[in-house]
Subunit: 435 residues, 2 copies
């Protein structure tokens, strides 16, 4: 008697996803919109391995990420290697490596997967894919205008209505300088305070007040609360900062180019998790009640290439994640219905029809049709049910008559319509649907 | 004076690749042919994370891979995790997980990246991408015929000539059983001998003879050499094995469906690196002198799902790597010329033309054109040189006249042809090229 051995679990690793064909369809839909829109703006695709030398992330990313959230390990040759937590250091490395051979401006995009070791939760997984679009080599505001308008057009191409998202602008360092001026804070305190401000909406109001008080004292905390609830006064105070005028200028140019159905506003409390930003920063925000959150963002990072021997390459870019976008599309009822790429299923009335089915399929494929054939012993009724379950739109069934006459009854499964078709007309009829 | 700090290297991690737009173009070309051909056969795309629980690979893959060649590490939560060295265990896991909800046969494909820690060399890197195409739920020979013909058609769709590759068939266990019969070997010795046979062409003849002698003795080694050089005698001896007839049957059906420009042969010494094969195995082989090597292969693995609680799901599939295929296409001069996705570059005679360039670009994008615009201060001549270097096929230049009249001089950069075009006709003229 054979002993029953312990069986393996079919679960994936924690916090990552399996993509069955239906999931892959949605994923590809999201990727295609990102890709088509980026290419419509003249962006070229690049990519790299997700394995990077750990040193790449020790130089200039947000502390939290390097210290607590990366997947870092030592390979069998003793090298420290990290699964990239974001794509920006990689693109900076690639651009720096060929700085003297590339012609600027560069417009590049990629849809890499990135990794963070964190507790999986809604909108945050250990692995997600992320469109990265970046323009290198442009100092002026036109780079920001282009990048933000690319982000806007991706949203529109997903079918998002202008009122269902907004664009928030700020400027790296502006909030910090303001806090230093207003409260006389030192660098450590201002850093800590910005981190707390970054948690607004993610922690309770009571916790927020408590954490702010710990840094500013009760009086300072109350003063900050007044400012956050009275944005006009705050903006008044920010006007002297160069970033304020820059944000206003970007907003104005976006309006001038016809982006008028979406709110574009200055959001002084907007901060980004990375240290490398040097100018405009922005976020696209979901305005719905159910999913009221930041969707994605980016900004200008003019000094990142300085960590290599490649100073002076200004850059603006953003990263847009697939998990967040999928949630957004779901919230706003913008997800497409599943469609299989297969156009036609060839059923066979008996096993001896399979060789003919193969030859016919081969001919139809040459003419551009995607064709699957039955290769089972199952009854023809079961074969048809199978085609229905696979969402394949058309079937034909092969018996002796069909083989002899080379004429087939083409059936559209969604409506039940049938039409007699000669072999030569199958492809055009399917491409033009059944009439 | 600022101290010069140590700069980071721009090199990627060892044994992996950066894909600049020109590399990405080739990679996408390869992926698109794989994808289109798989879909033309009715295959649906799936994927999964490259992070898998290590236990998945301890059950039934080749020893060498599990013990020496995986990227395996412990995550911050104490889980042992492996970067997948191949996709088959993952697809088996996914099919097993939904065995009762999926309708069989399943035709699935994916183009995942897979990882092996080994010394990088021609055709073998630490990370490569690999088409995996599999059919689940079919016991009969029709599954093998379909899978091998899919592999054949991918080669043809790459532009490969029938005489530039061949298809070699064998059957899992056939060689082993023959060696046991012929030389009276035990399990350990037969395993060791098959490994040596697997090295044919990768090690010198002298080393081969030495390694074989160590197992079979000098006499046995000479006997084996006679058999390897006289394949007809070997085939004679194999005829009683069920695998022999099976291979013959597959070859015959491939011929019957019109695959006659490529050699399909029985290759008794063909072995595959994985333990899970249970029936037909095959390899596609480059017949050229410069690149005389196995390109890719696969076979039937009917018991792999048994490692989960999901017995009795037969499967046939193969994996085809991007590095090997790129080498093949290079060897046979089948690589395509680089093309950028961008159709048109809009040059500007002065900075104040940029807002109009943006609006015009936006309109052309809505009509389906991919348009980049100048956002630099550079002279128009430099802008045109830039477009040439980017391989962008068309340009227009915006000055005062163009803004006033909305008529543009469209220039095709490859020929220098120019034509005056009204704004409304730009898109159709570019799509139909300059006439």
């Amino acid at each position: 008697m054979k002993e029953k051995s312990k069986k393996l679990s079919t679960e994936s690793y924690k916090g990552v996803r399996d993509f069955y064909p239906e999931d892959m369809f949605v994923e590809n839909y999201i990727f295609n919109i990102m890709q088509d829109t980026a290419e419509s703006f003249g962006y070229n695709e690049y990519t790299a391995s997700l394995l990077e030398p750990t040193a790449l992330y020790e130089a200039k990313t947000g502390d939290e990420i390097v210290n607590e959230q990366t997947y870092t390990f030592t390979d069998r040759g003793g090298r420290s290697v990290t699964l990239r937590p974001e794509m920006t250091p990689t693109i900076a490395r690639m651009v720096a490596a060929r700085k003297h051979n590339l012609s600027f401006p560069l417009r590049w995009y990629s849809i890499p997967n990135v990794f963070r070791y964190e507790r999986p939760q809604r909108g945050r997984l250990r692995e997600h894919w992320q469109l990265n679009a970046d323009i290198f080599g442009v100092n002026g505001i036109d780079a920001e205008v282009e990048i933000v308008s690319l982000a806007y057009h991706i949203m529109k191409n997903f079918g998002a209505k202008g009122e269902n998202f907004e664009i928030r602008l700020s400027y790296a360092g502006m909030l910090q300088e303001f806090l230093i001026d207003e409260f006389g804070l030192n660098d450590t305190d201002v850093r800590a305070l910005v981190r707390v401000i970054d948690k607004v909406g993610k922690i309770t109001e009571a916790d927020f007040t408590k954490e702010v008080s710990a840094i500013l004292g009760d009086e300072g905390s109350a003063q900050l609360e007044i400012l956050t609830s009275n944005k006009d006064e705050l903006k008044q105070k920010l006007q002297k900062h160069k970033g304020f005028a820059y944000c206003k200028d970007v907003a104005e140019q976006l309006t001038n180019m016809g982006i008028t159905d979406t709110t574009v506003s200055l959001e002084p409390f907007l901060t980004r998790g990375f240290d490398y930003y040097t100018g405009l920063i922005f976020e696209v925000f979901d305005t719905s009640e159910e999913n009221n959150r930041s969707l994605f963002g980016g900004g200008r990072y003019d000094n990142l290439l300085d960590i290599f021997e490649a100073e002076g390459v200004p850059a603006v870019g953003f990263g847009m994640g697939d998990v967040t976008m999928r949630d957004y599309l779901e919230t706003h009822n913008l997800l497409p219905e599943y469609e299989t790429p297969t156009d036609l299923y060839i059923c066979t009335l008996a096993k001896d029809k399979i060789p003919f089915a193969r030859t016919l399929a081969e001919r139809l494929r040459r003419e551009g049709l995607n064709v699957a054939i039955n290769v089972t012993d199952k009854k023809v009724g079961t074969q048809i049910q199978y085609a229905v379950k696979q969402s394949i739109p058309f079937i034909i069934c092969l018996g002796d008559d069909e083989l002899k006459k080379k004429v087939f009854m083409l059936k559209k499964l969604s409506t039940g319509e049938e039409k007699e078709v000669a072999e030569d007309d199958l492809v055009s009829l399917i491409f033009n649907s059944v009439t």
